[in-house]
Each structure stands twice: as structure tokens, then as C-alpha cells.
Amino acid sequence: MPFNETDLRAIGLTLRLAGTTMALLLVLCTPLAWWLARTRSRWRGPLSAVVALPLVLPPTVIGFYLLVALGPNGPLGQLTTALGLGTLPFTFWGLVLGSLIYSLPFAVQPLQGAFEAIGERPLEAAATLGAGPLDRFFTVALPLARGGFVTAAILSFAHTVGEFGVVLMLGGNIPGVTRVISVQIYDHVEALEYTQAHWLAGGMVVFSFIVLLGLNLTRRARLLP
């Protein structure tokens, strides 16, 4: 057995974290991406820049600010405490919050691109046939943007699996709660357990390759009639 028990827990936790993050991002980012794709507001530029920030910022910056902001003296920490949630660092939901921010652009940008590609015409045609705004969104826009949803789901899931810096800053390395695969690999390397590190690290390479290959294949399938 190449994986020991803590490795398996790290794998399970990582999949749970990535799955939760992906699901929440798809729900939260759909209205955001729709608005970004269609608005003429002067806030579009600044908001697009904010959405793209995690692409550019070092994960340690995100992790550090989250650790400070979510702590008992930080504004978000005081909010979560007042709501009776306690403080979020060192918890699974703290990592989910960090991952939502970290993977945000990977969900918003494919969705926004897909919505923009639809253009005005199908929606106007639907309107002339008597479809209301909600009807147009659910029966015309969403099906046409299907490809964007597939890409957003795959990318946000995979990007969360590959997360390291934010989790390291925010997690506290608790087995089964915050010790994800990347942290487990880091621990193995630091403790000179190179064989264990190789199994997990090699697994990540294979996983990432399969994800990107799959992404490529779904894109081609969509392009072909």
C-alpha cells in the first residue's frame, strides 16, 4: 500500500474541500459572471480587477490577510464570533472560504466568457417570443453557456486541489480537518520521507494531467458538431 492512513485522510479531505468549493463557486459566480458579462456600469472594470486579483497575488498574501481578518481581533473574525460561528481559521469552513477566494477567477472567467459569447440575438429572439427575463436566463442563456460551466467546474475543482499557500497559512495542519494533500506532501518532504512524498506528488502530476486532458477533450467535443 503506497499510502498510509494520514495520506488517505488528506486525499479524502482534499476532494471534499475541492468539491464543496466548486459547488459553492458555481452557484455564487453565475449571477456575478452574468452581471459582468452584460452590464455597462462603471463598476465593471474595478470589479473585474478584484475578481482577477487571486490570479496575481501570492497565496501567502491571501492567507496572511485572511488569518488576520478572520482572527478574533479582525473584522471578519468579530463578525463570525457575533454570529455564533466562532473564528474560522483552523476549521474546514475556514479553508472553504479561503478556497472560494483563491479559486474565484477560475470559476468567474469561463462563465463570463460563455455568457458574453451568447450575444444579444438569442435573448432578443426569446423576448419577442414572449419569454420573461428569468425564463430567458434559465431556458436560453444557461443551456447555451453549458460549456462554460463544465470548464468552470473542472478548473475551480482542480485549482483548489492544487492549493497550498493559503491552506498553510490558515489551516494549522490538523489531520482530517485542514491537512490537505499539498500540505501532506510538504510534511513528507520536510521530514525526509521522500518515498511517501513521491507517491502523493506523482499522483498529483497524474491527476492534473488527466484533468487538463479531459478539459481539452470536452472542448473539442463541443466544437465538433
Partner: protein, 257 residues
């Protein structure tokens, strides 16, 4: 093109000056890998070292385990200040460090610390009350201070009881950060992190008695890459000087003769 004699002489003069100043100082750079817990004292020591010898020590800070992996894989460090006595010895037996230069430079002290006044009492009894959500400890798999902290908890008979409250930092620096930001109410950190000029500068603390854990002996060694660098030898010598020792002790470390 015509160079006046005066101008030529000026150029030659400038060149001579440059060469002679290079020669006179014989100043060299030395790349030093420093265990995270020794960050603050080493910065002070390096500043004095530069002033007194003219050599410049370029410092990198990190965890001892990571430095071991990096040095084993050709990292360009010339001197290594480890957080323990095992890793430096291991580099010697791997042929990556010069065995004759191996020496202890500091004896680490462990402290249970909280930034909140009155949180930690003078005997560490707060641990038994469990009136906190998180206790930060350096990962014992990676950090000598984490090993010492877990030994102390076992000695108190609290290791199992507190297991669910422990959050682990990858090194003693991150452990301190968890406590400093208030996310963990208290934690086992290095005395050097909370001590300045012989005093614990803020919050409340319990200095864990040395007999509650195995000694945290921190060894320094010259690496094979630095064996011909005069600045590396000078730095090792300087670590034993009275000036350096005064700094080391002011951060709460012990000295081993």
C-alpha cells in the same frame, strides 16, 4: 582621439584606488541558512559581524528540514545554523558539511506564551483547565521545538486530553504567528521569539523548565561549499565571540561551552 596627460592620470588614479580598496578589505560574502527560531538574534549578529570584520553574511531563514533537503540538493549555502543537533550531524555524515567545524551555538528554551495578559500563569496550570479553543505547537515531526513541546505535554499528562485543541505550525515562526494573531489563544514558542533585552516583552508566559524536555541543542556547521571561504570561518569564530554571545543570551538562549 586625444587624452590629456592630466585626464589619464586621473583615470589611472581612480583605477588604482578601486583595486587597492578591494585588496585591503578582502571582504567576502557568506551565504547562511538560519533556523527560523534564530532569526532575530542572527540579524543583530550579522549586522555587528559586518561592522567588525567587513564580511557580509547573507541570511536565509526557514525550517531545518527544508534546509536539509535544499542543501542535499545543491543549495548554495556555506554555513548552516540548525535548530537541532541531528540535522547538522546528518549533513556531516552525508559529506555535505565539514565535521571538524561542527559546534553548538545556542541552547533553545521553550515557553508557553499568550499575547493576552494574565492568560498564562507562572506554572502553566492553564493547560490543565482547557479554557482555550486552540493551542499552537510546532509540528513535532519537523521542528525540534515541537518535539520539546510534546514531551512537556506528555510529562504533564495532558497530551491526549489536549490533542483536539492542538494546531500545528510548520515551523516555530508560523506557530508564533498563529498565537500572535490571536487565532490560537496560546502556544509553545521559542523564548527567543517573545524575549527582547532579557525580558518577555508582552503578554503572559510560562518558561517551561528545562528538565521537562530533552535539551534543544542548536548546532552550526560549515558546509562543503563554504570550506574555502574565509568569511564562513570568520562567522563561525564570531558566533563564539563575547559580543555574539551577549546577543544570543539576551534572547533567552543558553550557551554551551
Amino acid at each position: 582621439m586625444h587624452l590629456s596627460f592630466k585626464r589619464l592620470r586621473r583615470i589611472l588614479g581612480a583605477l588604482t584606488l578601486t583595486f587597492s580598496s578591494l585588496h585591503a578589505a578582502q571582504a567576502a560574502d557568506v551565504q547562511v541558512a538560519v533556523a527560523a527560531n534564530f532569526t532575530a538574534p542572527m540579524q543583530e549578529i550579522a549586522a555587528l559581524f559586518a561592522k567588525e570584520t567587513g564580511h557580509k553574511a547573507d541570511l536565509s531563514f526557514g525550517s531545518t528540514g527544508k534546509f536539509y533537503a535544499q542543501i542535499s540538493n545543491g543549495a548554495p549555502f556555506e554555513v548552516f545554523l540548525s535548530a537541532d543537533d541531528k540535522t547538522a550531524a546528518r549533513l556531516v555524515s552525508d559529506g555535505k558539511a565539514v565535521g571538524t567545524t561542527l559546534m553548538p551555538y545556542a541552547l533553545g528554551s521553550l515557553v508557553l506564551w499568550s499575547p493576552t495578559e494574565g492568560m498564562v500563569d507562572g506554572q502553566g496550570k492553564v493547560l490543565a483547565t482547557g479554557t482555550f479553543a486552540h493551542l499552537a505547537v510546532a509540528n513535532p515531526k519537523l521542528a525540534p521545538y515541537g518535539v520539546a513541546a510534546m514531551q512537556a505535554l506528555h510529562k504533564l499528562g495532558l497530551a491526549d486530553k489536549l490533542q483536539s485543541k492542538i494546531v500545528m505550525g510548520e515551523n516555530i515562526g508560523q506557530t508564533y504567528q498563529f498565537v500572535h494573531t490571536g487565532n490560537a489563544q496560546l502556544g509553545f514558542v521559542a523564548l527567543s521569539q517573545v524575549m527582547k533585552d532579557g525580558e518577555i516583552s508582552k503578554g503572559s508566559a510560562w518558561r517551561v523548565p528545562a528538565e521537562m524536555h530533552a535539551p534543544i541543542r542548536q548546532d552550526a556547521v560549515v558546509l562543503v561549499r563554504g570550506k574555502d571561504n574565509p568569511a564562513a570561518a570568520a562567522l563561525m569564530q564570531y558566533l563564539k565571540s563575547d559580543a555574539a554571545r551577549a546577543i544570543i543570551q539576551s534572547y533567552g538562549y543558553g550557551i554551551i561551552e
